[in-house]
Symmetry: D2
Subunit: 147 residues, 4 copies
């Protein structure tokens, strides 16, 4: 893969992420974009908490869904956009820590459908604890660029 | 079921919802609480949008997860709390409208595990369009009241 | 819908089911085919049991997956075939009884993707107990008839 | 871990597998049992096929569900049994080959709930192709040994 097209997918993902108001609302940021791999960070702040002071499971789902969806976008042509068809999330431990890290990766790229996974880790004093696991199906909309 | 205990579960659900900062952040409100049925409303506002101006799929998941989880809570004893073990969400149509309505219901109540479903509708000029469907597993933590 | 095309989809579903060796292996039969609704019956016999004498969860998944997939097929054109992209199954009670009944239905028909649900009931002396619930995504392959 | 208890879990898994008539029906065999990892093989034969001559998606689900469930059983005490609460399966490529290999592994062991994954590969002339991916929730029934 040429460095030009690599710049292309990084640029496309960053531009799309920047247009997601919901990511700004929860204060998520795009930490890393590689081909087939995207990482999103979420600081633990009071606005994203559920009733016990942990990060809300739905917010964990938001960053997992986005990280994996953008991982899929790194594998699609410039003139395509991606759509989250469905995802399944297991919440395995309280999302407790200073920060959450969601790592999305492509498991199987297809022309029309892309299957992805995401892991979400709670980070406390540099130690990561796996707190959620997601499996997702993405649809590629050819001829419908993101913008 | 006596009206006293009915007041109890309505009260418990409302108190717990009120402590979820993440629900306030997205401006979701608890519209209805009945035994086995909970409805959450989300106005469409710019803060919850994804890159195409629809409500973010992860936000759709948040209200679906919460509506169904609270539906489960209406079936548990006072001294128990509920935990979302996992959920699976199909996004079927753009979450486009003036408001989203998430309706969670209990499919099978068990002592330890409760299976639920939620439907999310986009409301436009009074017409509802089904835009998401969720299936969820809830764990009941006996002897651990919400507060 | 004309009776001719109705015959068409019933015929297509029955022909496809008849070619599924795996359905014959477990002794499943196609009990009903209507537009958007398909019912499969499975007698309880020793060959489909797991270690506790109930029907194996994977076999429950087989009839749920097939019932819902064929429900999707009733909504597609003659020159299309259907593919099960993914399904999620909750096993809620032991699959115990003289017979299992799987009822698949279309929740949202789309041109490329169809979202379906299936319920599986254990039947004992005429009483049905819900033992499994499934949510599924089907892909429509246009221009690729079943045969 | 002592070799005695290792023998224990291998023995428990093999004994339970041997009592699953449904595994014998589809001609699946237990190829490997390690702590947290179980492998099931399925020869491709006519009885497990769907209408296009590939292995039925539901049969793929059966071996994935079993491999991951038995992986969970390797992590539980002798006096406990395991129950498949739910699983979600993505079918990513036709299950085509001389044999299928399902590899189940434990992602997060808990006292009451265990989260697992399974991958299913189609093997053709020694080459493996990933054809399915599963995420599963297992419940541990303490004080209820398998037999």
């Amino acid at each position: 893969m040429s460095s030009v097209s690599e710049l292309d997918f990084v640029e496309r993902v960053r531009a799309s992420f920047g247009r997601q108001n919901a990511m700004a609302l929860i204060q998520a940021n795009l930490a890393d974009v590689q081909q087939g791999l995207v990482e999103i960070h979420l600081p633990h702040w009071h606005g994203v908490e559920q009733q016990h002071g942990f990060v809300h499971g739905g917010v964990v789902g938001m960053i997992a869904d986005s990280a994996a969806g953008y991982a899929a976008m790194t594998m699609t042509p410039d003139d395509a956009s991606v759509l989250s068809v469905e995802f399944k999330l297991n919440l395995m431990a309280p999302a407790d820590g200073e920060m959450l890290v969601a790592r999305g990766k492509v498991v199987r790229p297809g022309r029309t459908l892309i299957v992805t996974q995401a892991e979400v880790f709670a980070v406390r004093e540099g130690n990561e604890t796996l707190c959620a696991l997601m499996q997702q199906t993405i649809m590629v909309m050819h001829g419908k660029p993101e913008r």
